[in-house]
C-alpha cells in the first residue's frame, strides 16, 4: 500500500485535500493514478470558479479511461496548477505532491470533517478491493 500522508483528507472518489488555514490544495490519490494509468489530458476549472463539495469540477483522462474529478469541499478556486498540463507524468510520479491540481478558498471548513483520514482511506481501499 502506498504512503497516504496523515495530514491530508481523502474522498471516496479518490481525491485528496491538504488544508492550510482556510485554503485547501486538491489532487488525486496514488490509488486513483494507478487505476487510471498514464494520464494524457486534464480539464481543470478557472481561477474564480466556485466548486461544490461532491460535484464534478473537471476531468482527467488516461490512455484507456476518462474519469470525473469531484470537489472534496466547496469554495472558490484561487489557483490552478498550469504547469501540470504539460507535465502529466507528475500524476503517476508524485500524485500526493507535485501533481496538485487546484487550490480553493474553503466556504465551510466543517466540510473537512466529513472526509476520510488517511487510515480510513486505506481501510476503504482494502474493503473496496476485498469486495471485488
Amino acid at each position: 500500500m502506498a504512503d497516504y500522508p496523515e495530514d491530508y483528507k481523502y474522498t471516496k472518489e479518490h481525491e485528496w485535500i491538504s488544508v492550510d488555514g482556510n485554503e485547501g490544495t486538491i489532487g488525486i490519490t496514488d490509488h486513483a493514478q494507478a487505476e487510471l494509468g498514464d494520464v494524457v489530458y486534464i480539464e481543470l476549472p478557472a481561477v474564480g470558479d466556485q466548486l461544490q463539495a461532491g460535484q464534478p469540477f473537471g476531468t482527467i483522462e488516461s490512455v484507456k479511461a476518462v474519469s470525473e474529478l469531484y470537489a472534496p469541499v466547496s469554495g472558490e478556486v484561487t489557483a490552478i496548477h498550469e504547469e501540470l498540463i504539460d507535465q502529466l507524468e507528475l500524476f503517476n510520479e508524485d500524485p500526493h505532491g507535485a501533481a496538485w491540481m487546484v487550490r480553493v478558498r474553503m466556504a465551510d471548513s466543517s466540510e473537512i470533517e466529513a472526509l476520510m483520514s488517511s487510515g480510513d482511506y486505506v481501510s476503504f481501499l482494502e474493503s473496496a478491493e476485498g469486495g471485488h
Binding site: 494509468g37 498514464d38 489530458y41 476531468t59 490512455v63 484507456k64 476518462v66 503517476n92
Partner: protein, 371 residues
C-alpha cells in the same frame, strides 16, 4: 456471461510479471504491465513481447482445401506459396464481415486460418457449416487450444529473435513464415503483426509458451524488450490504421464500407458474399470508414458521436484513442460518403463539447523505412 474467463498458457506468467488483468472477449488478459505509454514506446523504438494465444486457429487440409478457402474468403489465396501468409476476410451472403483473418499455406494442401479470439466459436461454426455444404476432400479442425501465440514486435525484434531460433530470419520476408525447432518442438515463425512495426508472430505448443517468453525476455535484455498488454496493442494498431473486429467492422459492414476493398478479389471467381460486394463496388456505399485526428486537445473514444460541420449527427467513433506517437487524439468512424474527403472538418462530441477533427489518410503512423 457467467462462464469463468478463459486463460492462455501465459496467464500465471503475466501475473508474475506484474500485469493488470482484464476480461477481453471472455479471456483473462493483461491490459498493461509497466504502463501503456512505456510499452507503446518500447515497441516503436525497441521491441515488445505480446501474448496473443487467445487467437483462434483452424486447420484446413485436403485436396479441395484451396478451393474451399477461395469460396470462404474474399482475397485470392490461389497464388499463395508454401509458407506464405495472406490477410483476408470472411463475409456472409450479404457481404457483411464475419471476421478478418490470416491464411497460411503450410504445405501443398494444408492451410492454417488464424481468427479473432472473441469470434472463434462463431467462426468455427460458420466454417464447419460452409465446409459441409461445400463437400469435397476436406478436413476442418479447430486447433485453437493446440497453439499458443507470441508476438515479438519492434525494430529490434529480428535481432533478438535471431539469437534464439535456428532460422535465418533475414530470409523470411513480410507475410512469410517458416517452421523451426524450439526446445525440440515445431514452431511456426511468421513475419506478421498488428503494430505497424517490423516483427514476428510465433505459433508454438501451449506447453512451451512460458519458457519461450522467458527466453525472449532474456535474449532481448540488452535491447530492453518488455512484455506488452492489450492496452498498448490497441494504441499501436490504431496508429497503424489497422481495424479491430467488433469495433471497426462487423457483420453489418461490408469490406467496401470498411475501406478493405483491396482484400476482395472478384476476379478470382465465386466466393460467399461476392455478389453483394461487387454491387457495392459498382454503386458505391452510403457510408465509409474514415480516419480523423483531433485539432484541439481531447481524446475521442468508442461510441462518441460524430457531427458534420453543420452540427448534424453523422456517425459514431468506432475506435478512438490518444496517440502516444503523434501526441493527439485519433480515431476511426463511419460517416456518409460526402464527409469522407481527406482534409475535411468534422466534429466529435466529447462529453458534451463538440471539438473539431480533421479527416486524414490512414495509417496515422508509418514506420521509418530502413535506409
Amino acid at each position: 456471461m457467467s462462464d469463468d474467463p478463459k486463460r492462455t498458457p501465459l496467464n500465471q506468467w503475466h501475473r508474475d510479471h506484474g500485469a493488470k488483468m482484464v476480461d477481453f472477449g471472455g479471456w483473462d488478459m493483461p491490459i498493461q504491465f509497466e504502463g501503456i505509454l512505456a510499452e507503446h514506446k518500447a515497441v516503436r523504438q525497441r521491441a515488445g513481447l505480446f501474448d496473443v494465444s487467445h487467437m483462434g486457429e483452424v486447420r484446413i487440409r485436403g485436396d479441395d482445401a484451396l478451393a474451399f478457402i477461395q469460396h470462404l474468403t474474399t482475397n485470392d489465396a490461389g497464388g499463395l506459396e508454401l509458407g506464405q501468409a495472406q490477410y483476408t476476410l470472411m463475409t456472409n451472403h450479404a457481404g457483411g464481415v464475419i471476421d478478418d483473418l490470416l491464411v497460411y499455406r503450410l504445405a501443398e494442401t494444408d492451410y492454417l486460418l488464424v481468427i479473432n479470439a472473441a469470434t472463434t466459436p462463431k467462426d468455427v461454426a460458420w466454417i464447419e457449416e460452409q465446409a459441409e455444404d461445400f463437400g469435397g476432400l476436406l478436413e476442418v479442425r479447430d486447433e485453437s487450444d493446440e497453439w499458443a501465440q507470441l508476438a515479438l514486435q519492434g525494430p529490434d525484434a529480428e535481432t533478438i529473435l535471431s539469437r534464439i531460433v535456428a532460422l535465418d530470419l533475414a530470409s523470411i520476408g513480410y507475410y512469410r513464415a517458416a517452421f523451426t525447432d524450439i526446445d525440440g518442438v515445431q514452431a511456426l515463425v511468421s513475419r506478421t503483426g498488428y503494430t505497424g512495426e517490423d516483427g514476428f508472430e510465433v505459433y508454438l505448443p501451449p506447453s512451451q509458451a512460458a519458457d519461450f517468453a522467458d527466453t525472449i525476455l532474456d535474449a532481448g535484455a540488452n535491447e530492453g524488450v518488455v512484455p506488452v498488454g492489450l492496452g498498448a496493442r490497441d494504441t499501436l494498431r490504431l496508429e497503424a490504421g489497422m481495424l479491430l473486429y467488433g469495433n471497426d467492422m462487423d457483420e453489418s459492414r461490408s469490406p467496401v464500407e470498411a475501406n478493405l476493398r483491396w482484400l476482395t478479389k472478384p476476379g478470382k471467381g465465386e466466393f460467399i458474399g461476392k455478389d453483394a460486394i461487387v454491387a457495392q463496388i459498382e454503386a458505391g456505399t452510403a457510408e465509409r470508414l474514415v480516419g480523423f485526428e483531433l485539432i484541439d486537445r481531447g481524446v475521442p473514444r468508442h461510441g462518441y458521436e460524430l457531427y458534420g460541420a453543420d452540427e448534424q449527427a453523422i456517425g459514431e467513433v468506432t475506435s478512438g484513442s490518444f496517440s502516444p506517437t503523434l501526441q493527439k487524439g485519433i480515431g476511426l468512424g463511419y460517416v456518409p460518403a460526402e464527409h469522407t474527403e481527406v482534409g475535411g472538418l468534422l466534429k466529435v462530441d466529447i462529453r458534451g463539447r463538440k471539438l473539431e477533427v480533421r479527416v486524414v489518410k490512414t495509417p496515422f503512423y508509418r514506420r521509418p523505412q530502413p535506409s
